[in-house]
């Protein structure tokens, strides 16, 4: 038997962390949980409402449920579209970034620029850019005869938001992929040349497999951020026209702060959070499992 001293005093070391986590995440979240199971008639007077908010929210035939479901669908479509564009585009950009010389630094800084701009500023830039009267994009498109109006036409609004997100975030995928590509030793490329591999084959058999790990991170980050998107559409379209670009987070703010409907907003926050968490977990599991299965 090992005669190691055993002392519960070791737990004292964990206390600071527990306190920080308690005040930074658990307590704020518990207030939301608290509101999600209560109702109020005003004057700060609350009473127990059980799971009624949740039932209402998850029933698509109800008013709130329908609103939630359609916003959720918008979110899923948005995240999907954004991932499908940004991940391949980011990889393509990364492959084109020079590997040596002064051009590397210049290119990386240029690619990183959109990432350094505050989100509200990104929204404002695109709001002005898209205007039909003075905006370069809007005026130019209408000038060459393409009907474009992001405040009236849902397609224009969606296109604007998607292109803005691609503009804003493809750089991050590109930078991550570039780091992954840089880590591939030269010998792999040389061996591929000697083996007579085509450029596509080099990408398919060397670069893509070696990028897998950074792509898991890139997909996760891009999914989480795009699924929680708020600032840019709220500045550019404000969720409109109508409800066309009203994503979950925009809707949530409307319900919580606009209508001061705390019960519905709290229930929605929790469900929203759980959905994000679940999808991330599924992504992560699938992609790491894929990684391990290949090891066999």
């Amino acid at each position: 038997m090992m005669d190691k001293p055993w002392s519960n005093r070791a737990w004292f070391f964990v206390i600071p962390v527990l306190v920080v986590v308690l005040f930074s995440s658990l307590l704020p979240m518990m207030t939301v949980v608290n509101y999600s199971v209560q109702d109020t008639m005003g004057q700060n007077h609350f009473f127990w409402n059980g799971a009624a908010w949740f039932q209402n929210l998850l029933d698509p035939t109800s008013d709130m449920g329908g609103r939630f479901a359609s916003a959720l669908v918008r979110n899923l479509i948005f995240s999907f579209v954004v991932l499908v564009i940004e991940v391949p585009l980011g990889i393509a950009v990364a492959i084109c970034i020079p590997r040596h010389g002064w051009k590397v630094g210049a290119t990386l800084v240029l690619i990183a620029l959109p990432l350094l701009i505050p989100w509200t500023v990104v929204g404002t830039i695109w709001e002005i850019f898209a205007r039909q009267d003075i905006g370069l994009l809007g005026a130019a498109l209408n000038g060459i005869g393409i009907h474009y109006n992001d405040t009236e036409d849902p397609t224009s609004a969606w296109a604007t938001i998607v292109i803005m997100d691609v503009w804003h975030w493809t750089g991050m995928v590109a930078l991550l992929s570039y780091a992954g590509l840089k880590a591939i030793p030269d010998a792999f490329y040389q061996a591929a040349r000697i083996d007579g591999a085509s450029r596509w084959s080099v990408f398919r058999n060397i670069e893509l497999p070696k990028l897998q790990k950074v792509l898991v991170i890139a997909v996760l980050l891009r999914f989480m951020e795009s699924f929680m998107i708020y600032t840019e559409p709220s500045v550019v379209t404000g969720g409109g026209p109508g409800e066309a670009t009203s994503f979950l987070s925009l809707d949530l703010v409307k319900i919580a702060l606009g209508q001061v409907d705390l019960g519905n907003a709290a229930a929605m926050s929790i469900v929203y959070y759980l959905i994000t968490l679940t999808i991330c977990w599924i992504f992560f599991t699938i992609m790491t499992q894929l990684d391990q299965r290949k090891g066999l």
């Binding site: 000697i194 058999n205 290949k294």
Partner: protein, 365 residues
């Protein structure tokens, strides 16, 4: 199947304009003959990998011509040269099985499926990869991966040459032996021209029919392992080959005598007296020098190293030191006075690092 001719090949990597050219590889003329195994041996940074990459086409030489048989391939791309190369670290295609990895160079060249399968089978048997053919390459050990790399190098039957760039660096010492003898066997079985780059003399000497010793971008000597050991043309070859390397003692030579520290060594042959101001050294291998209790050149024993199989004595005469073999039956310890015996045929004279011949030898040659 070809011989490869280096016609005054040299390479300088582009440097700042106006600066004196710095050669990574100084001009070299050599013919690599079909069916032979060569080793490029030298310390890190001596230009051996540059030379290898010039042959494979990964580097285009700044001067000279490269001929495969009689075809000028100097500016031909790697893919068109029909060369196989194995790198220092295993290069495998992660997502493919071992069999797919081996088949890859053949598939890219649009070989028929049946012939691919047959060839992959042959190489797998040669390298003992048959049991893992169906497995993903990624999960295998480093030496299995390197065997796959070797296999991809050997799988094309029609290559002009197979080049190896320190392929055993990542392999365990015990497996190194096995893979090295495997390579030797493969070379005999396939009758290919093989060029093997290494900084490990044991690898070079056991693998190659002929060894090219390089230093600072220049070829110092090309010869069989025995040549390099018995008759090093350059003092660096003497020092680099052999363990421990050759002893070098500053000397003056006149006639058939070399004087080191007022002690005379009999050279057995007459030498021309080297011009004044040149660096003259007497060289001999520890393997051929013996320390005995009496006779020979008087020395003092400093240390005795017992290597198990043999004993080496570090001895001093005057301000100079040398290493010599201490025969098993001789009982001498540190501090003892002893005699150093070197047979005259194993004494070499080097002038400015190059070995010079005795007048009689020169006449014969």
């Amino acid at each position: 199947m070809a011989s490869i001719t280096l016609d005054h090949i040299a390479h300088a990597y582009p440097g700042p304009p106006g600066a004196a050219k710095h050669y990574a590889l100084k001009p070299i003329d050599h013919v690599w003959r079909q069916g032979r195994a060569y080793a490029l041996l030298g310390p890190s940074g001596c230009g051996k990998t540059t030379l290898l990459n010039i042959i494979s086409g990964l580097v285009i030489p700044s001067e000279g011509r490269l001929l495969f048989d009689n075809r000028d391939v100097t500016s031909l791309s790697t893919e068109k040269r029909n060369i196989a190369q194995v790198f220092q670290f295993p290069v495998i295609y992660d997502t493919m099985t071992v069999a797919e990895n081996l088949a890859f160079p053949l598939k890219n060249r649009r070989m028929e499926r049946a012939s691919i399968e047959q060839r992959v089978g042959e190489i797998a048997d040669l390298l003992d990869l048959r049991p893992v053919l169906g497995r993903r390459a990624r999960g295998l050990t480093a030496d299995a991966k390197q065997k796959i790399s070797l296999g991809r190098g050997l799988v094309r039957a029609d290559v002009s040459a197979v080049l190896f760039d320190e392929p055993l660096t990542v392999i365990d010492p015990a497996l190194k032996w096995e893979l090295r003898s495997k390579l030797k066997a493969v070379h005999q079985a396939l009758d290919m021209l093989m060029i093997y780059v290494t900084h490990d003399q044991v690898e070079a000497l056991t693998f190659a029919d002929e060894v090219v010793v390089m230093k600072d971008g220049a070829v110092l000597q090309i010869g069989t392992p025995a040549d390099l050991f018995e008759r090093p043309e350059h003092s660096f070859v003497g020092y680099f080959i052999g363990s421990p390397g050759m002893n070098f003692l500053p000397a003056s030579v006149s006639g058939s005598r070399a004087i080191v520290n007022e002690t005379a060594f009999d050279l057995g042959l007459d030498y021309e007296t080297p011009a004044l101001g040149r660096r003259v050294e007497l060289g001999f291998r520890p393997d051929y020098a013996r320390v005995l209790a009496t006779g020979g050149v008087p020395v003092t024993v400093l240390r005795v190293e017992d290597l198990g199989r043999r004993r080496l004595a570090r001895v001093a005469f005057g301000s100079h030191e040398a290493v010599a073999t201490l025969p098993p039956d001789v009982d001498i310890g540190p501090g003892d006075a002893a005699g150093l015996h070197v047979p005259p045929e194993h004494l070499h004279v080097f002038v400015d690092e190059l070995r010079v011949l005795g007048t009689a030898e020169r006449l014969r040659a």
